[in-house]
Symmetry: D2
Subunit: 459 residues, 4 copies
């Protein structure tokens, strides 16, 4: 699918979620003032429309589409969107692909809700752990993601957006086997390991005549441009920031499969293990599987060692590594989710939201990857394990920002690479892990030479 240079001017109906807005909501979406949401809307809408593009450089996307404009119109049959110079890849013969129209509607819905009901509203205390979780619950509920009367079935799939063809095919096969077993897929949107499992599951659901298969994408405004949702995604939620996005994954998913990936995948793994290490979560079943084709065996060995070194054997017990056996991945995930169902039933916990999972504030508070914050992260073994996990998570979060997020790229251009300091016994394996990510082209989509956005400052 080639992205032609010519943009398209059109008026479309958002489809599905939120065609009904009040006049003040419409005005706010149009406003570029401080509380206005225009820039946010424009950025997310562009990301959604740009799903056919083959770049993960958010800044470049914004620049290429500097003439893109979006305007919200109030019409007799509801809200319409007027688009100017929209990316052509979102259209087929001048008609916007229906799945993308739904994504636009989701973007609108979440921006309106988060701004009006969460941020500019004294109801949720976003400094407080419970307040944050409550806000996440409300955003997800408003999006229709939380469904009573459905048994646990959501498998979160993590992994790189830039992976080899062999790894990609493996993610499709794993998704196919899970889909045949009636499991549903949740990913962070984007290409690679976020798209493969959905394609596989979609095909399997067709074979099983499952018309209501769920392909849930959870994104956030900073990353969505780099990882724009594939139109297969039939439920899209835009969380306000990366930390709430990660919390949304672990509270809605009933199990997690991790495929090979780069810095973002490492961030997700450290976040997850950091939480599961919390003694209050010891009793909770939470199936986690690391998997990939035969060629990924070494990759997983390396990561396993790094986890053993930094987080210890308790963390290693929380996941299983399965190499080159997608059927077995699907079987173990099915069995694991069965245990989750039994546990929730026994505790009268809801199936659709894991209230019981304890997430401590260091995993919830937004981390701003400024050069200063990156340089002063405390990376050594003389601290509680979950604190180290949190700080390591921040390291990788910063690298993701420097690689693909617009603000991060700009900061690196201006100030040079992040300086990462820490204890030698961690820095060395961290360095070799990152180098292997670079060599395996996991940091960026192929086709561009990767200039590291970080330097490991070894003592």
């Amino acid at each position: 699918m080639t992205n032609t240079n010519l943009g398209i001017d059109t008026v479309v109906s958002p489809e599905g979620s939120l065609e009904v807005l009040s006049q003040s909501e419409v005005n706010r979406l149009k406003s570029t003032s401080e509380n206005g949401q225009y820039e946010l809307l424009r950025g997310c809408a562009l990301a959604v429309l740009n799903c056919g593009s083959h770049t993960d450089d958010s800044k470049a996307i914004l620049e290429q589409n500097r003439n893109f404009d979006i305007e919200v119109l109030q019409q007799d049959r509801g809200v319409k969107l007027k688009l100017t110079q929209a990316p052509a890849s979102a259209f087929v013969e001048g008609q916007m692909i229906r799945g993308i129209r739904e994504h636009l509607s989701s973007v609108l819905r979440d921006i309106v809700y988060v701004s009006n009901e969460i941020e500019h509203n004294d109801r949720f205390d976003l400094q407080d752990s419970e307040g944050i979780t409550n806000a996440i619950f409300h955003i997800l509920r408003n999006s229709g993601t939380l469904r009573a009367n459905e048994k646990p079935s959501i498998v979160v799939c993590w992994g790189g957006h830039s992976i080899s063809r062999e790894e990609y095919n493996y993610t499709k096969e794993a998704g196919h086997e899970m889909g045949l077993r009636r499991l549903n897929i949740c990913t962070g949107c984007g290409p690679g390991a976020m798209k493969g499992p959905m394609k596989g599951a979609n095909l399997a659901h067709a074979k099983q005549r499952i018309l209501d298969g769920r392909y849930l994408g959870i994104s956030e405004p900073g990353i969505i441009a780099a990882e724009s949702p594939n139109p297969i995604v039939n439920e899209l939620v835009i969380m306000p920031d990366i930390e709430k996005r990660l919390e949304a994954f672990v509270r809605t998913g009933h199990g997690i499969v991790v495929f090979p990936g780069g810095a973002g995948t490492a961030e997700e793994i450290l976040y997850l293990l950091g939480i599961l290490l919390n003694p209050q979560n010891d009793d909770q079943p939470f199936p986690v599987i690391f998997t990939g084709p035969a060629s990924s065996a070494e990759y997983w060995q390396q990561l396993d060692q790094f986890i053993g070194l930094t987080l210890g054997a308790k963390a290693q017990k929380r996941y299983r590594i399965i190499i080159d056996d997608p059927k077995q991945v699907a079987r173990e995930m099915t069995a694991g989710i069965q245990r989750v169902e039994e546990f929730r039933r026994a505790n009268h916990d809801s199936f659709y939201f894991n209230w019981r999972l304890k997430i401590s504030p260091e995993f919830q508070q937004p981390f701003d990857p400024s050069h200063e914050n990156m340089a002063t992260l405390d990376i050594n073994l003389n601290q509680e394990t979950h604190k180290l996990a949190a700080n390591l998570r921040r390291v990788f979060s910063g690298i993701v920002a420097g690689n693909v997020k617009a603000t991060g790229i700009t900061a690196i251009e201006q100030l040079g690479p992040f300086q990462i300091n820490g204890a030698k016994e961690i820095m060395q394996p961290l360095d070799s892990l990152l180098q292997s990510f670079v060599q395996q082209q996991r940091m960026k989509l192929p086709g561009s030479k990767y200039n590291p956005c970080y330097e490991i400052a070894q003592q």
Copy 2:
């Protein structure tokens, strides 16, 4: 259908709208403290369950069911409701009628939403006209009532809950003719003229194979016990008070048919004409039809005269009286709604909510029908017409409260009838109008002797 004395203890799933609640929302529903919602929930739930009963005395219903209890439980598949001593008429062989389960769910949804998002929230300024309208919009949107992509089709039907068999059959026929023409029905819930049009339309929709016919009921906590929703109602909204309920009618309905009724119907007519008299609404098409069987001709003549006397010829031009011709009612309503559609289209107004209708604050601010407030209402011809309409509306609103609302009945028991003062030239026709309501048994359901809750103090 006899309402057996034995209540039923059970646990049910609310169905449809809101099975997903946060923990703090559940706690608030359980709480009897000031901000708690337990009493409100219990009262509305009882009203909904009591739909098989044949009384309109809210106070008596609460007393008869003093052992009724409701508790919200959090379960693995969502929220459940534990009911103790629930009215047996809501059940068939021990299973709650599905429509009633949906009503319970609607009650829960609206209580949670109004309390959390409207009342204890600084977002909506309920002292301000725009703020009130905005709050009404949000309540209706949250209930799913506002649907983009649907053409105007909602006919609000007003009329008495206590009407003759002949009048009742006429409301069914009118509903049948409207249903055959694919119109949908909105009423205030309850028996009589609120039920007949829905029954007729439901049958007609079956003949036309319309599976998604809308039977919209809009109630409020004070009246719902006296006018509990018939299970045909497939969309139920509980507005916070009578004024917001009236505004919800005129902003969602595309036309209004009024059947004969008593004080409540008079209140509705005065509210509607008071608004339509506003010069800012002069250009808006808004079809209003007063109708009934041949025997109601004199009734409508009397009301028409009272309106002519008090609100003048301009008000009389806003409605048409059609006697004994349900097919003609349906035809004119269809044509009128067609004009509404064209007007909205020409003005880019939404079909689902009439933002443009100007409602001045005296029709929006809640009126408390205390004895003092009732006695000091300013009823004379030396004021602007729409102010007189507003005050006359309050007279009838107070009489409704004294007749059927629990607080009103208690006040009358303690302090005697309301005293209504005003200019002689209005008081006399008002008196005869009210007396005719009494004689025609329009004030209360038959079977009980009616003791007027008011005295016309003539000067």
Copy 3:
């Protein structure tokens, strides 16, 4: 609903079942030759369109609509029907009621199928008991009436087309109670006891949010004009003759409720009891309830006595009489159908067609009620009971024909009343039974003086 005199010319799409016809099928529907189906199609189509009319005189209907014409057109999107001078009551503002369009489609489907696949086809031996049953099975299957995966729920309701308002309301209440219990209704189409239960069940299904409630009408070309299907009927089947229609009732229904009626109802009762008296059916559960309002107690007592006298106590054990208790009717029918389900399950019998029921040939062979055949029926106690039942069934069948069927009415006009001969001990109670039908206006719709089409020739 007044049936205006002006007919309507239009082209409509039949809806639902059979828009796809081959060219030879279309040609046959147009042909008036011997094997052509034009007259049959015209007669049945007229009956279906005439559902708003208030007469049961088939001959009069044909005469009133002598200018009515129907033509089958082949169009790009399927078959269309061109109607000339169609009864206006089938239309609302020029648009045919959708339910009636579906009925037209059903008529077309069954005429095409019966003619091509049953009658002019050597596959089914219609002289043979098994062949007849097999043909009935195929007609019903082709109509979509036989549904696997549905539990037994079909209650056949029999009773008069001409009944009092009190009886009619009772049939609605019984239907309502059955509908609340998720039972479905099957009748012979037409007004009175064939319409009431469907209206009641339709309302109850709306309350229970059952969108796929079944209102099954089974008719035949001879009777359909007199008992045209109400548009509520959402499955209409036209069987080739009265005997196959009766067999379709007892093989698809899971239980039978009989309301008061006239000759047709008596015919149905004698048919049913005649079959249930067959010793091969002794083990089969088959719930049969005779019911009506308090005022019908004497009616049922009289019929019960007649059955006792003619068919004996064994027949009387096959039904229960319940007076003035619609809730109890629904409860017993639910319990009875539960026993049917268990019996079928135990015997691996299908739920949707009662293959096991033994029907002997005298109940299957079409009876032509000519004057000669009527005069020579063998009515005396010196024969096997089921043979007497079969002959008594024929007596009533002939009277129905003389009352409302076009051919029967013509024959009576030409040759005078049927002469019915038989043993005195049967003739006298038969005479008084028939006289009471006349007095109670059960023979014909009110408004016309009833001239008996028979004479009891007592020896």
Copy 4:
């Protein structure tokens, strides 16, 4: 997907089409006598269950599964199928894939219908051209394939079951582009070019939120084992023989896309062009596109030359060759189908069945590829072009049988290769065409050495 050796014993419900059978129909399915259908049912059922296997050798499949057995059971909720030693690849964790259950149901439906209503029935004269077409119409109608009210959208995709990965990916892309444009896919079932377009369209339909996308497979008992339907196929029809299957393609499809293939594809092309050469079909729009990736350019050139030589320039005008441009394929097909729609509309022809297409008897009469029949085919230029097309079609048809059909393989084993005689100027290019098919591995699935089942006997 590995096909384990262990078969599975189970009882399943066929799903979708035909759970309702009469007792005599069930008995016939069980019978192995002459008119019995057991062997046919067993063979087709095995083919459907064997969809995960990677062989196209029908005889080998039957031998490998010699213990497979199928029995039809009559149960309370309809017909069930008892399977013994069923191929494991049809199951996921012991549960049969739903799509395959539907295929079983389709097999049952078509075997019952064809046998009872077409073959052992004097209604259709299968010696007559019109009689054959009528029979095809009835089989397709009975299967639910002919849908009124749907606009033309069915693209028949032909091409090889054994194609390269590059060609396969191209068929997926073409299917994807057609699916994005809301076109539906019909193929002959099986792998390769019959599966790729469906997979692509299925993904595209998911993106367009089309839940009712059609993936129509048309097979026949002789070929189904070699080309078993992929579970994506959501409408499966088993025609009685190859000629009726080909006629079903051209009467239901609105356009045809041909991908590279072997003998079967050549058969299909010659059949199609032979018909389109009929002067009575000159006026009919019928879009035909030959396409493939860049590497297929030479393949199409060779075929184009062969067609030019044998059928002439008029035949060449009936198709367009598009190389390496799936988007253009989809665009031209959309435009071509638009012309078909306009033509049918102008002529009042049905959209769902092309009655107007003239097919002469030599393309309709079943051809038995015995050694004698093959050896005596008249292949020379001294005859009418459409007769030559018919004979060339038979050549390729015989080669397909010798390659993959059980009876053909057996005959070749016993009697050696078919001898194909004909005029030198045709035999030489035919020989080189066939040899290129062999070299390109288009005759059989890779992995087996191909032994030609034919010899070109050059004069």
